[in-house]
């Protein structure tokens, strides 16, 4: 965050998208078939009327969010729109002042990230959050090591089992890393992101949240990470993905929510061709369009 404080009407990175779009052939294909399955899906996560402020700054102002089973939801917005704050609320890092969290219809309360994790909410952090001095298997199982014997307070690890399980996991997700014994410091950026994602999926997560999973990656690595997201969906995961790269959102998401100044301004299926999609999203991001304008205005009146 904090790439620019005073944002021009249209930030540079968005302008880049508008004026010089890259359109590989497969991106121009119409989307729509997957939408049917989404409509029937039931909600795995529901956030209702989430409010969170930091001092005088209201980061989230009554945001609602629904994530359905086996759905990939894109979360978009300018810097400081509240995307990361919203996801930190869902992953237990922040406690909202107001609002409710429902997991599979049951109201819950998260006091810490571990709390959220226990209930199946996994977060993949922007900076990977891996221990580079440990190997792939150790990172996948970090904090949840398989124990062979318990000698009083000392737990002896079952290294063999962790290695076998980690290898199986990599195979299932089609992640290409030669050995789970490789130290993470020897992996490329894309491979590290893949390990971080694999780690989030290792323990039957209900929801996987990815914060800018492609921000630090090369073009080739981005393709692989997006393939991985699709693979996860095919395996039945429900995913929320935050990204500045609208193209990535378009390529993997079923639905998209746009936040602006802590308010939800759009909640629509990802459809149409990429040009039309991009223009529409940019309009929401910069404030030219707002599907929930009525409510936002009402909230403002209430505050005043």
């Amino acid at each position: 965050m904090g790439r620019s404080v005073t944002i021009p009407v249209c930030p540079l990175w968005i302008r880049g998208f508008v004026t010089a779009p890259i359109t590989p052939i497969f991106l121009t294909a119409e989307k729509g078939i997957s939408m049917n399955s989404v409509a029937v899906g039931t909600a795995v996560v529901e956030l209702r009327n989430i409010n969170k402020s930091f001092g005088a700054v209201q980061a989230l102002r009554g945001v609602d969010l629904v994530l359905r089973h086996n759905e990939v939801l894109g979360l978009v917005g300018d810097n400081a729109a509240g995307k990361s704050t919203l996801m930190k609320v869902l992953s237990g890092a922040y406690i909202p002042e107001e609002g409710d969290i429902f997991i599979e219809g049951k109201k819950t309360h998260f006091a810490s990230p571990m709390d959220a994790r226990r209930q199946g909410i996994e977060m993949v952090y922007q900076d990977f959050a891996l221990a580079n001095n440990l190997d792939v298997a150790a990172n996948v199982f970090l904090g949840r090591e398989a124990v062979r014997t318990q000698l009083g307070p000392i737990a002896v690890m079952d290294n063999r089992r962790m290695e076998v399980e980690a290898q199986k996991l990599l195979n299932r997700l089609k992640i290409d890393i030669s050995s789970v014994r490789l130290k993470v410091e020897r992996l490329s950026g894309g491979q590290r992101q893949a390990v971080a994602i694999a780690r989030a999926t290792a323990f039957d997560a209900k929801v996987i949240i990815m914060d800018e999973p492609t921000a630090a990656l090369s073009v080739a690595a981005i393709g692989k990470v997006l393939d991985l997201v699709r693979e996860l969906k095919a395996l039945g995961s429900s995913i929320i993905i935050i990204s500045h790269r609208l193209e990535d959102i378009y390529r993997v998401s079923d639905r998209m929510i746009v936040l602006r100044h802590g308010l939800k301004v759009s909640d629509t299926p990802v459809e149409g061709d990429i040009h039309e999609f991009r223009e529409r999203v940019v309009a929401y991001i910069v404030g030219a369009r707002d599907d929930f304008g009525g409510r936002a205005a009402a909230d403002k009146r209430q505050e005043a």
């Binding site: 990977f128 959050a129 221990a131 580079n132 001095n133 970090l142 002896v156 050995s179």
Partner: protein, 393 residues
């Protein structure tokens, strides 16, 4: 690929680890030649082991402290102070050895937890917190020995820890004049090593492409067997294993096990590698900091016991500069100041490299001033070597 190519590749890949063994080998051979074999004599080797013992146990604890990105400067005087407490407990309070040792170890753990509290809870940089400990324990040592000066320890059982030897099994006729128990232990150690290495290799072959080629593997086994066998033979030719060696061996085995096989060990290295990631994974960095400093305190106490026992007394300057020797041993042994990297066995070898240097130079009658300069050069070279090999990766 030929045998030599494999050797080169292996050496290049593990240069950091092998470098240390090569250095120790060069030092031992060099001094043995320079002193006409006095250096490698049974008597000198036993002396060397007993002298290194109290630094080696500190170096083991220091390894973990540095791995989690901290430092502990207080361990030297803490060890001196606790040695004095042990002496007072036996002389003035009439406590038996069996009560004195647990008492002192317990006090050590408490002192370590206090450092841990300052670092983990109060968030004072470890350098400052333990510098305060350095001053404090120095004062405490002087206070406790002020009335009497050097406290002579009359207890034979206690003094045996630093000077005595493990008794031999009586009534074995073969090989007279050789310590049989030492030979048996050495033999068992070698067998255990061979079995575990062969098992590990078989396991690896199942699902890993990159393993040591057969010739290199055999070479490694032969090298280690010869090394352990040689040391065993030298020790057995004198009076066998000293109690200090037994204590150091137990510490090394326990810490090697904890760091490589247990969840606790895994978490210590994870915290060293990336504290934020560890915390996000549900590992309590604070609790680990307490555990690591607590273990450091306990090992300081053990070091104090070894030293007091070796001198058969508690002196007013006991423990002076131990912390720096332990830190140097850890760095020579391949611990990285950046955290997350370092093995306890490495630090043990590091401790032996440094004390072999001192011992060898003493035998050669070298001026103490030059000795310091030589040791400084070795320490600097070890760290430069470490940083350079890390960069190349």
């Amino acid at each position: 690929m030929s045998f030599i190519d494999h050797g080169k590749k292996q050496l290049r890949g593990n240069i950091r680890e092998y470098g240390m063994y090569i250095a120790l080998f060069v030092i031992v051979v060099g001094f043995s030649i320079a002193t006409d074999g006095v250096f490698i004599s049974s008597r000198n080797i036993v002396n060397l082991v007993n002298q290194t013992g109290y630094i080696a146990v500190l170096a083991v604890g220091m390894t973990l402290v540095i791995v989690i990105r901290h430092i502990d400067l207080s361990v030297g005087y803490l060890s001196g102070f606790l040695g004095a407490v042990a002496a007072i407990a036996m002389v003035s309070w009439d406590l038996p050895v069996s009560a004195t040792i647990p008492l002192v170890l317990g006090l050590g753990i408490l002192a370590g937890l206090l450092s841990g509290f300052l670092v983990a809870k109060m968030e004072i940089p470890a350098f400052v917190a333990t510098l305060a400990g350095w001053l404090g324990y120095r004062g405490a040592l002087q206070l406790s020995t002020r009335g009497t000066g050097t406290i002579i320890i009359p207890d034979d059982a206690f003094n045996a820890i630093g000077n005595g030897f493990v008794p031999d099994i009586p009534g074995i006729g073969i090989l007279p004049g050789v310590h049989h128990l030492t030979l048996i232990l050495g033999f068992l150690g070698i067998v255990l090593f061979l079995v575990s290495e062969i098992n590990a290799r078989r396991k690896l072959q199942g699902y890993e492409s990159e393993i040591l080629p057969m010739e290199m593997f055999i070479l490694k086994l032969v090298f280690v067997t010869a090394l352990v066998g040689g040391i065993t033979w030298i020790l057995a030719g004198y009076q066998g294993l000293s109690w200090t060696a037994v204590v150091v061996l137990i510490v090394i085995i326990v810490y090697q096990f904890i760091t490589t096989k247990t969840v606790l060990g895994r978490h210590i290295y994870a915290v060293g590698g990336n504290p934020e990631a560890a915390e996000l994974s549900g590992i309590s960095v604070k609790r680990l900091t307490y555990a690591v400093f607590g273990s450091m305190g306990m090992l300081s106490a053990l070091s104090g016991i070894l030293f007091a026992s070796r001198l058969r007394s508690a002196t007013t300057t006991a423990g002076q500069l131990f912390e720096l020797d332990a830190i140097a041993a850890a760095f020579v042994g391949g611990v990285s100041a950046a955290g997350g990297v370092g093995k306890v066995v490495g630090s043990l070898i590091g401790a032996f490299v440094m004390s072999s240097l001192s011992s060898g130079m003493n035998l050669m009658g070298m001026d103490i001033s030059y000795q310091y300069i030589v040791r400084a050069t070795v320490l600097a070279a070890a760290v430069i070597f470490d940083v350079a090999t890390r960069k190349r990766e």
